[in-house]
Structure formats: C-alpha cells, structure tokens
C-alpha cells in the first residue's frame, strides 16, 4: 500500500538531491536547476500532505500554495538566467568557482 510516508520519503530524496547538487556542482545553471529540484520536492510534499490529511477541507489551501510556488519559481528562473547572462557577458564563464573577485 502506498502511504503518506512513501511520498514524503520521495520528496525528501529529491530535496536532498537538490541540496547535494547545490553543494557539489560548480556550473551555475546546474545550481539553478538544483534549486528547482528542491522546490519540486516541496511541492510534492504539500500535495501529498493535502491528500492524506484526515480533513481534506484544507486541500485548496495547499494547492494554492503549490501553484504560487510554481509561479514564483518561473519568475525566479527568469531573473536568475538574466543574472547569469549578464555574468557570462562580463566574464565568459558560469563556473561558480571562478567568481572570486569578492572574497567571502
């Protein structure tokens, strides 16, 4: 039987993969994609929770949340790619390790 914890577990795996991608990859576009993976994992968790809650009255609430996250993700990617494009024009690279004029 497929239960809530199946979905949560999958969501957790995807989230962890996103975090891992952000940590180990240096290509900026892949970093961006890892963030998307994290957001997707969160969306999956919300939808699963909404479906499995004892009182599904709150389902719309969760779905609107997911929908808003999607819309924001689209906006975020647009901005992120614009920043990347600008960066690429300046430096001819999108490798995060080569961006070291500012030393953290």
């Amino acid at each position: 039987m497929i239960t809530l914890s199946h979905y949560l577990f999958l969501s957790m795996i995807l989230f962890a993969l996103g975090v891992t991608g952000l940590m180990v990859r240096r290509n900026a576009i892949i970093l961006l994609m890892s963030v998307e993976l994290m957001l997707n994992a969160a969306n999956l968790a919300v939808v699963a929770f909404a479906r499995f809650r004892p009182a599904p009255a709150s389902a719309d609430n969760g779905m609107v949340l997911v929908f808003m996250v999607m819309a924001v993700a689209a906006a975020e990617v647009a901005i992120g790619l614009a920043i990347l494009l600008n960066l690429y024009r300046q430096r001819r690279t999108v490798n995060a390790d080569e961006l070291n004029v500012l030393k953290g």
């Binding site: 995807l14 180990v24 890892s34 494009l85």
Partner: protein, 180 residues
C-alpha cells in the same frame, strides 16, 4: 491497489533517478533533460494524488516555461563539457551532512508508527477534489489577493529580467533578437 502501487513505484523511481541525473550529469543539457523527466514524473504523481489541476500546471509551467528557458540559455551560452571533474570534491562534507539528515528523517519515519505516520488510511476525497474548477474558484475568491499579487510579482520579474539581460543598443545591435 496493486496498480496504484506499481504506478507509484514506477514514477517515484523515475523521479529519483532523474533527480540523480540532474546532480551527476557532466553536461548541463543532460541535467536539464533529467530535470524535465523528474518534473513530468512528479506531475504523474500529482495525478495519483488527485490533484489534476496541479499536474497540468506543473507540466505547463515547469517543463513548458521554466525548463525551456533554462535549456535555451544553455544552448545560447554554448556551455560545453567542463574539463576535468565537474563536481567539487571539497564540498563532499556537505553531501555527508545531507545524507545524514535524510537517514535520520527516514529512520524516524519508519520508527514512528505510533502517530499513524507510516500508513494512514487514504481518506476518501470529494469528487471535485483538485479539479480545475475547484482550484480556480478558491484562486478567485479566498486567494484573490495572492493571485493578483503574483501578477505584480511577475511584472517585477519581467522588468528585472529585461533590465539585466537587455544589451544597451549601442553595443551589439545584432544580438537584440536573441534576447527574446
């Protein structure tokens, strides 16, 4: 019930494997295509969870807009394979941390059966659960403000993206078209 489980395992595995592909692929384009795979698999799982509207929205918004934008940028910047190891070995401690987190969470999930965490009975859902009209109605009534606000947010994003990505005309007039 069998079919249900099969469906979950198929798309769940697909999502996880494609997610792994995002992290491990050497070429950004392969990562992107893997991510598209993950998103489609998640949309399929949304369908299983009776969230029809979100399943379509997921595909239309993510694969249809977000990922196309990313794929476009990859090919515009013509990012070829990075020489050597695309991963950064010094960051693997972070991975260990994430793995630990995952382990703790899953162990806790498996142990904590007392709260019914491991297997609540699936509650029956109303027939219009997650359908387009249902979600639409709450978007235009209860959640009217977020709906309108997200429009403002997208406008801000459009302004921002154009400000950054637009090349000032005196520089390279020929590349103007590509920015679309």
């Amino acid at each position: 019930m069998m079919l249900n489980a099969l469906y979950f395992w198929f798309f769940g595995t697909l999502a996880a494997v494609c997610g792994l592909g995002v992290v491990l692929s050497r070429h950004p384009m392969h990562s992107a295509i893997s991510l598209v795979g993950t998103m489609i698999a998640i949309a399929a799982l949304f369908l299983q969870l009776h969230s029809e509207f979100l399943a379509y929205a997921q595909i239309i918004v993510y694969t249809g807009a977000v990922m196309v934008l990313i794929v476009f940028t990859i090919s515009l910047l013509n990012l070829r394979q990075t020489a050597g190891n695309p991963m950064c070995p010094s960051r693997w401690w972070g991975v260990v941390f994430v793995a630990l987190l995952l382990l703790v969470f899953s162990a806790y999930q498996l142990i904590d059966k007392s709260h019914g965490f491991a297997g609540p009975a699936r509650p029956s859902v109303p027939p219009d659960y997650g359908q387009v009209p249902t979600v639409a109605r709450s978007l235009f009534t209860t959640y009217l403000f977020p709906f309108e606000f997200v429009a403002v947010l997208l406008t801000a994003a459009v302004i921002g993206a154009t400000v950054l990505a637009r090349q000032d005309p005196e520089q390279h007039p020929t590349e103007q078209e590509e920015q679309k």
